[in-house]
Amino acid sequence: MITGTFDMNDLNIASTQSTPGIQTDFRNGVLRMHGDSYPENSFEFFGPVIEWIESFLAASSDPLRLELRLIYMNTSSVKAMMDIFDMLEEAHGKGRAVSVAWHYDPRNERVLDLADEFREDCTFPFDISPDVA
């Protein structure tokens, strides 16, 4: 992930039918994920995402913001997301500014309930809001 000492490669993964699209913006401290998540190998798929977050948190002291538009997820993806939120929670505990903005399609209210389940136990700002049509 890290090419120079403080230089970092951003992720730009196009979404597929079974994996979400992922874009990172190191300069602005933003990670975006959108779509369905059914990777065959979740560990392999989410590895780079977790590495990017780890590197960002280590290499900078800027705020980190996750913008999520995730719809359906398999169990191992749910676990990966919980791991990611745990990392944010830990960083938040050390005084780092981290936040999650989870957007959902108002036609699919179930995503709201699910995002709400994820939010439980998180003490950092975790906003869930419908996308404006």
Binding site: V78, M82, R110, D121
Partner: protein, 269 residues
Amino acid sequence: MALTKSSACLEEAELQALIMRLVDAPEHADNPMREPLLRLVKHCEGQRERLERLVRISDGYHSISRDQRLSLAEQYDKQLRRLEKLARISDRYQNSLRELSEALKDSASHDPLTGLDNRRALTERLREESERATRKHQAYALSILDVDRFKLINDRFGHDIGDKALCAISDAIRGSLREYDACGRWGGEEFLILLPETASEYASQVIERVRAAIAQIRIDVQESALPPITASFGLTLYRPGESFSDTISRADTLLRVAKAQGRNRVIVD
């Protein structure tokens, strides 16, 4: 425990002081027991230090294992809560997927406007009924109906009224059939009716009932009145062994005859 220990220590210290006083007394300077007594006192001191060190080390180990046990219990509880949360979220995803797949299954076989079977479901039913009819040498009756001058309704009153008419027609068809009869939307304003194991004469009566029910539909439209809704029907019997598409084309041809003869009628072969 601490009390006993300290009183024992006190006793030992007093005893040691007494012995030292006696040993140091000038009158005992040549006593042969003086030397062994001094060695015994020194030995006792060493033993006491050993014992204290042993207790300290043992207490240390005890406290380490206690801390480990507490942190393991804490980790275990945390992992358990995590696992429960994972299962809960995962179950919810699974449930919404199941409901989605049921909705998809339903929309794959039903016409969204009228709720009747769609062409795909009808084709499946036709295949089943044709196999059964061939096996049992018992024909089913098949009728195709087309709403008369439906394009005029759409053009003059708009698609909303057109849709309303189609729903009313669906209700009229459904309401005139028996439970085991099949019906569905075959195309735009075309409906298909399948009467299993039904002889020609009785089939004519049923289809005539459907025709009459449709002719009685009244739809309120603001300002102008909607012309009466009617439909034309072609009715035929499945001939065991033939392909059901042959049955359909026969019914279709009869339907064209009904149209040509002035609409709002049933033509049977």
